[in-house]
Symmetry: C5
Subunit: 347 residues, 5 copies
């Protein structure tokens, strides 16, 4: 479920975002805790290994390696923050782009409601069928990109059962051979049905038909864009470079951020100034882990917003909303206006 | 209230932005002073604790920890500025996007004024009702996203009282069952009423009807976008990562930025070069606090521009403006032109 | 006046941008020199104070403070460059957005010229009045946002005098009560006058009327956007954070960048390596001042492009241009074509 | 082939992106391994040369140079990461811009299917020919920019063979003299054929003809944009600056990152702290190489998405899809609707 | 001439961008070599001056200054890379914006070809004249912004000679008084001529006329945008700040990056660790020069793409292309279709 928190931060008060820190649902802690545990476990293992299982000589050797590693993890040697910043910004733009590409039938239903006429059965049938085709199209496209929708409709029969298409529709759909995604077919039906409605006089003029076609094309363009966002990911290469950078950084931290024996340091002159303390728990490294891996997790979360994460788009809920409001607008509300009376400020 | 200061900085003069620094309303000081006081209090507490309540040995131990902390807060260990820069830029783009999505009825009223005809009561009624529906729709959507508007209209009855809908409208609205936000319903009424006006001949041709429908759809798209901006926030995870980064940075500053006893440093060789002075007040840390937490506050302020901050959008004022100009344009100004006379430069 | 220099840098030659450095008009020097003088004065004062008026002991104390300050101004403690980069980029996008929102009547006049017919006086009157309304609207909006235009037209009477509206128009405008900006009213007149022209048959068909309305709405949208750019500034908080960051940075530079007595340094071991030279003039600090405050000035310059800076938009010139070309296009050039003859390459 | 991995990362789970690291197809390893081998080879050569072939004195000289080189490769002397970040972001935006410019015939076919009428042969012929022209146009443009398509259609005859144009079309195309790309010609045929269809009454009204023309122009604009993306690359100068920066950085690493003899260092006081260990393999330099050159490779990959890389657009597959669905939509599916029956939720 | 290299880097192969490094045309070397020579000359002069012409005491003084300069050029004192990154990104966006604003007559000619009818002379004349006006308009605008086009057409008579306008057109153009750029006038003629053609029945219906007007307005908007891109440059102040930053950086490098006498350093304890080597040629400084000044040159190159640089837009070629294809499309190809026959896959 999408995690909305806009209202909680409507006002910039004292503490502000701090109240957002104590949420579990959709939180960074929930995303991150497993990785953090693994990292702590590995760190502890290396720590015990170094402290208890090595001879004094091996320890010295280990310390050399540790200092060498630390040198490189300390000095922006690999600009992890930089590449993460650019990568997450790209991913965020795609994420929002995908959301705004979500095909909503609202404009289409306004136009159908105002331009396909007739209170009789035929009129209702036309309006409902047109909107059903539009909704069917978006369901078909979402089936191929959203894991949630795929779970809900594992086969086309399930879509028939849910009422988005009739058994006849399915038959027709399957009778048409195409090696490619067929999401556009119901929209072609829409186009042809609208033309039919024009001939029957249900659509009263050519201008209205054009309006229907224009809105149809805008709707289709959104379905198409959604499909292409899914097909064309951020190049794998980019994702790999970022991931390797973050992972290898922390792999070297496992060694380089160990607390080395301070006394030994004095003797063989290897100590760094900050190796004067032994906290056992590498507080800052954990903080860094939280920060960098957390940032990478943000990327992971938003790179595909059609999954089942807490913060992914609620596609199933949107599908239900779309079909419900479509039918309301073109059927129940067709020429079903409140009486037009003078308003309060009539002068 | 939105804080406008464009005119004050119209010219880039000597001093320039400096005059903006001495404002309280909508200022960073007002947003920040509580956090700053808390930080100062905690810092003072740690300072007193270290100076007066610890034994010499404990002090030394404290100093080790402080130096350790300082080491990590000094060296861009956690790139707070970087992540803040990206985050605030994202938030700013959303903020402006939300503002430009605010549904203004101006285009719609131009079209209604020019295309829905009749100076008689029916004509006036049609034009006024159409614009009332449009305004009602934006009020409904704002009720669900703006805390200010929600306070003004705690229930639908309040909206009836304010004249945005009639009691009959409310009845009809409530008679339609939908589990989802109903903001779009008055716009469906608009669409149907426009079709009715066409049949009555008040809208004189099909082309004009199409124009009305097109402007309606643009208006609805803006309402919809506003709703979705509210629903789909920046992923919580991102906000948490940024907040944790800033907060933990200053938590460690509480210890790491204490002025350590310089004399002791000489003795046990722990002093850093810059620990030769004891100012009691950590001027630069406060400045850093002002800067970083201030930047975070900018994010907090703009992440939801529909709250009650000084700088949030004046939704209530906009609602009043919209209904007023709508009625002016379609009622008072309908076919109420100044006489068309030769202008001054007529040749 | 806008400072155009595109042609001077049309070709990337040797030296390239260097020739742009020797301009005074619209230059950074002109914007900055006062601030620079103040900074130099203050620096000199501190310098003299330290060198001549302090006892040796006070000097040592001063040096400690200076070294402390310098430490923090040297090490990216406050990432001024970072926040400036993001801030100026935001401001620049708004600046260009404002320019492209400037309402130009060109599209409208093309359409009026081609679709509102009649070479007689009534035809001319209609076309001229329509364009006058459009221009009047932009003048009204500019009066409220541009200091230059406000100076030119301190009152509505001045606009009448300039011929943008008649005395009758003004009367009508003032007879309509609205608490809000009335810039949109002439456009409502436009819409109604166009509808009138359609009825008179001057606009020959409904399709042409729709075209007029569509172009009108695009024009109005630009006026509106301009108004909102002015109303909704970059949040004051952001501007304050940036300004405080830059100003405080250089306040500390006044102390931290003094040339300290090198000999003394040797004695009490306080010298930094680079305190081996005394140039009296802090060349690099001045350069930094030039650079950072210059960058801030860029922000100041472009945050409101409707002021009176050298580089601000020439709104008055644009107003003159707009009314002139409007009248030319719809009056002088109406059905006043060069003879349609075979072109040179006719085959 | 485009490498899709959206579904694999639909959910942000433990490990997350890590599973993407073990892919070979379209991976960074595949792109990079040759460069990495060359770099390792050169590094090994320099290493052996320094260790075995130089006299002690020459070694000392080499070490001086190495330390000098290392100094500059260590300290962000050349901000490779910065310039790469900006460059790759630019390239990415162009890359996505090119993908979204890919001309898809879907909107056009919807409109043709709904507005060009007749189930007889002439009707079918018209619809098929119109869509064929549209597809032909995109094939012509892709031939000139995509190496894959060029391989598939090395000459215009191959396009005739594939059925995108007839021999007559080719004749006509070649009879028209133009020094420039002729991709737009079939679209002019489309425009004229549509006008013909209008005259024959196959397109039933002027409004429908306009719709056809509008969609045609949108389609053509995409073809045109694709052509211009190809013609106007990112300025060569920018690409060269980035490439030189990365390459020279690693050229100096070959010398500067050698493990120098630690013992010698002590003697002539040249040793750096981190030269206390000799790992033979410069782990961190290789990691840096992987990271920076990998990032550059991302740029290389996406700068021309119409090549034959693993991750380039599957233009040939898209061409096949486009012609197939075009014909389906306008021919098989023309007025071939499933029966319009009451849906499941009919009430 | 625009330097296209897309095809060369279609595939990301081994070596990849490296092959782009060996081009002279449009290369960074060609842009930069003069600056580089001047810098080398100055550096050599300072070097010789320091080594040969100063007394030992003066040398010491010089070294102090050099170390001081070096300190500030080494430590990101002035974030040149940062400001360059932001500046070049802005310039790049404008550059691409200018290219996509280039008025191409393709859409207009499609519409003219399909909607202005008649194979007789009058028909041809109308179509040719309409397109000639459109092309004339873009030539007029390009004359005022492109140095190449200005060279080609130094006066309006040259445009007449080239056939873009007739002598009568020129007369009419000059008879109209306007203090501002007259590029829009031929488009007003277009608008009026189209209205005339409608009256003559050459344009068969109002809808087609509207389409012509809409495409005309899109075309005009592009001309206008091009004009404004030229008029409103990036504020001079910004360009100056960037230029001063880069130039002063390298001015100080001339002194700070000299190889100082290492032996002397030991004596008076002034040597830095890296002053143990004397290479005479400051390899890294030259590399930095190449990199930073190269990046600045990128900005210089793209800030005005209508100059005569290797990589500037080929405006003259585009003008020729536009007039040629315009005439082809509306004259030769008007109702000149290949025979409509069954395609290969007809079933």
């Amino acid at each position: 479920m999408t995690v909305s928190y806009s209202l909680e931060v409507a006002n910039a008060r004292f503490g502000g975002f701090s109240k957002l820190l104590f949420r579990w649902k959709g939180s960074i802690y929930r995303l991150l805790y497993k990785e953090l545990l693994v990292f702590c476990g590995l760190y502890a293992f290396v720590s015990v290994f170094y402290r208890c299982m090595l001879t004094s000589r091996q320890q010295e050797q280990f310390e050399r390696i540790a200092l060498y590693c630390d040198h490189f993890t300390n000095t922006n040697f690999i600009p992890v923050s930089f590449v993460l910043g650019f990568y997450v910004t790209l991913a965020f733009n795609r994420w929002w782009g995908q959301y705004t590409s979500f095909p909503l039938p609202d404009n289409l239903m306004m136009v159908v409601s105002g331009n396909v006429h007739g209170v009789d059965e035929r009129g209702r049938l036309l309006r409902r069928t047109l909107m059903r085709y539009a909704n069917l199209s978006s369901v078909l496209i979402l089936c191929s990109i959203s894991t949630r929708v795929r779970k809900r409709f594992p086969s086309l029969e399930h879509i028939v059962d849910a009422g988005f298409m009739t058994a006849k529709d399915l038959e027709k759909l399957e009778s048409l051979n195409s090696d490619f995604n067929k999401y556009w077919m119901p929209l072609t039906w829409f186009s042809n049905l609208a033309a039919e409605a024009r001939e029957e006089g249900r659509v009263r003029n050519d201008v209205a038909l054009k309006l229907l076609m224009e809105e149809l094309n805008k709707y289709r363009a959104k379905c198409s864009l959604l499909f292409h966002y899914d097909w064309i990911s951020i190049p794998l290469v980019y994702t790999q470079v970022v991931t390797v950078a973050v992972y290898s950084f922390f792999a070297f931290c496992l060694i380089g951020r160990q607390f080395l024996n301070p006394k030994d340091n004095k003797d063989h002159k290897m100590g760094r100034e900050d190796h004067k303390i032994d906290l056992y728990v590498p507080v800052f490294t954990l903080l860094q882990f939280f920060f960098y891996v957390g940032w990478l997790k943000v990327g992971e979360l938003i790179i595909n917003p059609f999954g089942e994460d807490d913060d992914d788009f609620e596609t199933n809920q949107l599908i239900d909303r779309n079909i419900q409001v479509s039918m309301l607008a073109v059927d129940d509300m067709y020429q079903n206006l409140p009486p037009t009376v003078k308003d309060k400020h009539w002068a």
